[in-house]
């Protein structure tokens, strides 16, 4: 990838800055937090944001510092987002490549499996998986990852199929090239673009899905703070203490925005057709 072109793209640049900001937050949170994110303070229940108390974003209904909890929750959200995307992308892409490359019966059955998973409503599927496996952090990763499998399978299969019929691949085959060689030399590099874009989308959707699961009471569980469970806990407090809901919500919005900008920017930079349009 052309790095200078990437950083000249304002969309990609602003996306990277946002994501970098969150990464720095995680590093900082390992060594320093304004308050202990799980310590309760019965004298400071639902304190509004204030400089004097040091609770810059206020406290929740247990007197816990919201800023510290958001900072601590950043790592949790990113782990889920990366983990689920990696899981879905690896399994899905392998399925898709396998199906698209081998064709025939394999293709037929693998794609039927993907179709079935795909036509299953995704939030419901995630709810099912969570309810069966139990509410642990790694199960959230699995639940969201499973939702992603058919998406990656379809995209990679489609890309492989369209490539298979292109001149340079046909030429490679007719020159007697080995199947594996063609796969790694010609096919894989060329399906990376759609995959990378899908990955950036998946990263952002995972965070939204985690928060939706938490809202329904199935996400990461307290006292570990996640943005999702902070929001779900704040649901009843919105009227009397809006800061408990607004700030964790904004934390989600900006990280998701960062991933989306990054993805869009990457597409601009990587997709040759869009690039030429400039």
């Amino acid at each position: 990838m052309n790095a200078s072109r990437f950083f000249k793209n304002p969309i990609a640049l602003s996306g990277s800055i946002i994501v970098a900001f969150y990464l720095v937050t995680i590093l900082v949170s390992f060594v320093w937090l304004p308050f202990d994110p799980v310590a309760m303070d019965m004298e400071r229940l639902l304190d509004p944001p204030s400089f004097e108390t040091g609770h810059l974003l206020g406290t929740d209904d247990f007197g816990r510092d919201i800023l510290s909890r958001i900072m601590k929750g950043t790592a949790v959200s990113l782990i889920i987002s990366l983990g689920a995307t990696a899981l879905g992308a690896v399994i899905g892409t392998l399925m898709g490549i396998w199906a698209g490359f081998l064709g025939g019966r394999w293709d037929h059955w693998l794609m039927r499996v993907a179709d079935v998973l795909f036509s299953f409503p995704s939030l419901l599927l995630a709810i099912f998986v969570m309810a069966i496996l139990g509410e642990q952090t790694y199960n959230v990763v699995i639940a969201i990852g499973i939702v992603y499998i058919p998406q990656f399978a379809r995209i990679s299969r489609g890309a492989i199929l369209s490539l298979k019929n292109q001149e340079f691949v046909r030429a490679a085959f007719s020159n007697g090239a080995d199947k594996t060689y063609v796969l790694f030399r010609h096919l894989l590099p060329n399906i990376l673009v759609p995959l990378i874009v899908q990955v950036s989308l998946a990263l952002s959707v995972a965070i939204l899905l985690e928060s939706a699961l938490s809202f329904l009471g199935l996400g990461i569980q307290p006292p570990d703070p996640s943005w999702g469970n902070m929001l779900s806990g704040a649901r009843k407090l919105m009227m009397i203490a809006p800061w408990t809901a607004i700030y964790p919500g904004l934390a989600i919005v900006f990280l998701v925005l960062g991933f989306n900008l990054l993805g869009d920017g990457l597409r601009d930079v990587l997709d040759p057709r869009l690039r030429n349009a400039r």
Partner: protein
């Protein structure tokens, strides 16, 4: 396909707004956060269903706003000995279909509850009943094989409401239709949206109900319920979130009614698992808990500390402050742990759910408080259905629960803590406790029973198989137009029959 279209069309027709009704009608719109699951009084278990049954059916007796037993369909009763009860029925009471309710209906309904085929959750209320007979059209006799001092309290349960035989036989059950004797009649039900009840013009209490219509609206968000009452779209709403009540209390355009309920928030142990089989460990945990803090953080102060009997039941409950371990004592707690061979504390997990009943907020405060005596708590937060599953299988170290209390001590404590109790999921077995519970059950007069249950409350607190924390408040908010409503304490909204609304 045609046969499926009919209900759709019907539902659409029924969806015509009721705002076209005559404005002179006195309509009360009440917002609730859960839809009723069914309406058959002998079968339903869901709290939301009971709240509809409150208005549609009557029982032989009912519980009034002072939690005393008062006449309902029975005008009077006597028990010549503690195995026989004779009830004299009201005359001229009509079911919603116009037929008179007579002794045969009582016999039918109670036998329906006893029949295993009905699978009624109210069966245990009649546990020792051997015969239910009609002596004449207005007299019913219940014969018991053993004393059952909680019988009257049981008869006041919605699950023992009197239903008309012919309707049950025609419909199979009463889950979707309602033909009772109650102050209101079912007019229309749009699931997950609204239910409209209209006044029963033949209701036996003269002058009641005053309302022409009661409309239930299902709104899951507590904040929306509050906003609805504030904007005038709702006249009344049942609120469970302390945070919302706190907000409503600051608002002088809204009436807030609060009363300690007869439910109890409990923190119970699996008494067969180590180290909870050691009474000193349980006592140490009891001494480490600060009820005031728990009520403050988890309920926004909308609760009242309570012992083994709900504090609202004044006749029986001892003052919680007079019971052992009422106040935290960390030094003593640590000493007890050391005596039990756990000077460095231990680790266990609490099964909890994020729904209100599952008590996640309470569990988080407990976790925080127990850390102070070196006990590490892991929260096992599960979805509500999984929570019930763990409860049924007794698969937990400890659990935070809401226990539905009762105005009768035998009813509540026997089933909960006797070694043979039906909902003793603490697996608590103690011969001293069993002895007192059996003794209490054999007595029928309050004066005889009182000393037994006083002793029992102290003993249970000391043995601490389960720690009774507090009774949550029962909260109703309403507009100033609404007058005459009274809270019972068991969640019942029967007093809508006496409620008035001004336009």
């Amino acid at each position: 396909m045609k046969r499926f279209m009919f209900p759709v069309v019907l539902a659409l027709l029924l969806a015509i707004p009721t705002t076209t009704a005559f404005s002179a009608d006195k309509i009360l719109t009440i917002g609730v956060d859960q839809e009723a699951i069914g309406l058959d009084p002998n079968i339903v278990t869901a709290f939301s269903s009971h709240r509809r049954v409150d208005l549609l059916y009557n029982k032989l007796v009912r519980v009034d706003d002072k939690l005393s037993i008062v006449p309902d369909l029975a005008l009077s009763w006597e028990n010549p000995d503690n195995l026989t009860y004779v009830f004299k029925l009201r005359k001229g009471v009509k079911f919603h279909n116009g037929r008179e309710m007579v002794a045969a209906d009582v016999v039918y309904s109670l036998n329906r509850v006893l029949d295993p085929k009905t699978a009624s959750p109210g069966r245990s209320y009649l546990a020792t009943a051997t015969a239910i007979e009609a002596l004449d059209a207005y007299t019913v006799k219940i014969v018991l094989s053993g004393p059952l001092p909680s019988l009257l309290e049981g008869l006041a349960s919605n699950n023992l409401a009197i239903v008309p035989q012919e309707v049950v036989e025609k419909e199979g059950n009463l889950q979707k239709v309602a033909v009772g004797t109650g102050p209101f009649m079912l007019q229309e039900w749009l699931p997950d949206n609204s239910m409209t009840l209209v006044k029963n013009p033949n209701y036996f209490e003269k002058g009641n109900p005053s309302l022409d219509k009661v409309i239930f609206r299902v709104i899951p968000e507590q904040a929306s319920l509050y906003a609805g009452v504030k904007s005038g779209e709702l006249d009344m709403a049942t609120i469970s979130q302390g945070a919302i009540i706190l907000q409503a209390l600051k608002d002088n355009t809204i009436t807030v009614m609060r009363k300690p309920s007869i439910n109890l928030r409990t923190f119970g142990f699996n008494n067969t698992r180590k180290p909870f089989d050691d009474v000193r460990v349980r006592q140490a945990l009891a001494l480490a808990l600060d009820r005031t803090e728990i009520i403050k953080a988890a309920e926004f102060n909308m609760g009242q500390a309570s012992g083994p009997l709900p504090v609202a039941v004044k006749l029986w409950a001892k003052d919680p402050a007079s019971l052992p371990f009422a106040r935290p004592d960390l030094a003593k707690a640590k000493k007890l742990l050391a005596d039990a061979g756990l000077p460095n504390g231990f680790t266990f997990s609490i099964v909890t759910a994020s729904s209100y009943e599952g008590g996640l907020d309470v569990a988080q405060v407990i976790q925080n408080q127990l850390a102070k005596i070196g006990v590490k708590v892991e929260l096992d937060v599960v979805e509500w259905g999984v929570y019930i599953d763990r409860w049924v299988k007794r698969d937990f170290d400890a659990m935070v629960e809401i226990r539905g209390g009762s105005s009768d001590p035998d009813r509540f404590l026997y089933r909960t803590l006797h070694s043979t109790g039906g909902v003793n999921n603490f697996l608590f077995k103690d011969s001293d406790v069993d002895k007192l519970l059996d003794q209490g059950r054999s007595l029928t007069k309050v004066a005889d029973r009182k000393p037994v249950y006083d002793k029992l409350q102290v003993m249970l607190t000391e043995k601490a198989p389960v720690i009774f924390l507090y009774s949550p408040m029962e909260n109703q908010i309403m507009s100033k137009k609404v007058t005459g409503f009274k809270q019972v304490g068991n969640g019942s909204i029967y007093y809508l029959a006496e409620t008035k609304i001004s336009n």
